[in-house]
Symmetry: C2
Subunit: 355 residues, 2 copies
């Protein structure tokens, strides 16, 4: 038993065991989707990625034999959120095992980074592996060790943030969330439960992709956290009706001035939280030091045909168009605090802590 991270097929069990013993996460059981193997797993010469596009209706893994195939799977959104970080790192392990040399590894890294140009966390981690192995004479082993170190570091950060997040939760709280806030949110809830706090969750279904209904709600139900689904127009109503005590989300990006960028729908609930006087907490690994304010953000406009269908079924007549901005920009004055590995920070204190 290695606590929250099931043993992968990476032959890194010993290192993992040591690290996990240090953190002593034994009581906390993550839902399948957030276990290391539930994101992706190496088996033989292939990487199997859990297909979040069809979850929870089908439990399908997409098998990739090369970094090229992994990059294509990432572009096709087989996994999302925190998934690409682990997938890209393990794709480097896959490539290194082929013993085709460092240049070939560099090419794979480039492909992986370009598969998701806005996922800078994944890009930074891939670059870190390249830097650490560039003089290596035992490339395959060194890549595996480097990848393991990075994954364990992230896991430690997730648990640190989860523990901090849990201190913001009071016994009896009903918490509203949007999209799939992954490890940091679910760990906040699990640590709150461990501290004998009763906690319930309302999750916004998160159209058009329904990450709330498909990923968050089944994940919470799996680990025994009471959850109900609402449609995306109901969050402010629940807050206004005193049915919600706190609003929690992840953050796709945090600017140095405390601006939070997160899945579309975050702003709507953040405005209601402010208006009706409940706190909004964003959970974030760290700010993006290249983004000072929202002026530095370009919001991705995705294919509007997603908005005019639901689970593949058309919701309107052909020829009627939609609009699909993928993310919200939430001004710092709407954010009560940002929970980072360095502590629970007021948005205006982010800059000082991270420069």
């Amino acid at each position: 038993m290695y606590g929250s991270i099931p043993s992968s097929s990476m032959h890194l069990h010993k290192i993992a065991t040591k690290l996990h013993l240090c953190y002593a996460f034994f009581m906390i059981r993550l839902p399948y989707l957030l276990t290391e193997d539930g994101i992706c797993r190496l088996e033989g010469d292939r990487l199997f990625i859990t297909d979040r596009r069809v979850y929870p209706f089908e439990r399908v893994e997409v098998a990739c034999s090369s970094a090229e195939e992994v990059a294509a799977a990432l572009t096709a959104m087989v996994t999302q959120g925190g998934g690409p970080l682990e997938v890209a790192l393990k794709a480097l392990v896959l490539q290194a095992r082929r013993k085709q040399g460092f240049e070939r590894l560099q090419e794979s890294a480039k492909l992986l980074i370009n598969s998701r140009p806005t996922n800078t966390t994944m890009a930074r981690a891939v670059d870190e592996v390249l830097m650490s192995v560039k003089e290596s004479t035992a490339l395959a082993d060194d890549v595996e060790h480097s990848v393991r170190r990075i994954l364990d570091r992230y896991e430690a950060i997730y648990h640190t943030i989860g523990k901090l997040g849990s201190t913001l939760i009071d016994d009896g709280d009903q918490i509203l969330t949007t999209c799939f806030a992954e490890h940091t949110f679910i760990l906040s809830l699990l640590y709150a439960q461990e501290a004998k706090k009763e906690v319930r969750v309302l999750v916004s279904e998160t159209r058009p992709y329904l990450q709330g209904s498909r990923l968050t709600a089944p994940a919470l139900a799996e680990v025994g956290i009471p959850v109900k689904i609402i449609t995306d127009n109901m969050g402010p109503t629940m807050i206004a009706s005193n049915l919600v005590q706190k609003y929690f989300t992840a953050a796709d990006l945090v600017c140095l001035d405390g601006t939070v960028v997160n899945k579309i729908g975050t702003l709507s609930n953040a405005l209601a939280a402010k208006h009706y006087g409940i706190p909004y907490y964003a959970l974030a690994i760290s700010p993006d030091s290249t983004k000072k304010t929202k002026e530095d953000i370009t919001i991705e406009l995705r294919d509007p045909c997603e908005v005019t269908q639901c689970l593949g079924k058309k919701t309107t007549l052909d020829g009627i168009d939609g609009l699909y901005p993928a993310f919200d920009i939430v001004d710092p004055d709407l954010v009560t605090a940002i929970v980072t590995a360095k502590g629970i920070l007021h948005p205006r204190d982010i800059k000082e802590q991270y420069i």
Copy 2:
């Protein structure tokens, strides 16, 4: 050509023609769903009701041979919004034509009223017909005349509100709306167009029933008003991004203190309109004089299974529950003005105008 109301099979053409000449609505063409025949039509001894549950994917009419069948269709939500008013009135015509006497007509009226207990507009209109024909010796003719008078009165009110609403629209506006705001909203847009104002609409899809995508967007496209669909989590984002100049909705109910009750999702956008400084206008026939404040409102909680499916397709795992409050309560301080047949009123002036 009778302008917005196509000739029905009610043999009331002459009266209709006279009235329509008075109002001179010739330039305004309503979308099919809002034409009198597009809501329901009498043909022979049956009433055909357009089935809004499957619109626009199928154009189906539900045929009813008796007031009992009509009441069952209303309960089953074959039509909604303003639809039940016309349907119930024409069901009275159907019953009166059977020459079974006043008592039988009263029984039918009761059934119709009970089919939708919260639709007080429909109930009041049905009662009005009964009152006006209770001493009648030519019941069938008198019911037809009474019904025609009421329908024409409503049509006149719709046009009055539409003309007032159009004065709130500026050339080049992009207007956000929620659900299917029917005659008063679409007439506001059409009168604005007639006044050579360019106007575009963003419509929120309005989960769980998708009235925005299924009814509003096709109706607007049909009459040549540019429309795009957004998911329900995007309205505040569009307002924050200066892509929306005004927010318009219908109102299912207005309290005497100016509180607006409307489809779930209205509050979310009204909060954003207030925060970012754009006006929110509610279009309403009149306030409900039995409701003083929101304390007098009970919000209907509908079947939560609607929230965990979309167009009949499950959006999450079996066993995971939802919550479905059907309406929002919007405090008067979030409402810029209520457009009524008596004028464009500040919420605090409603009481004075209507008591």
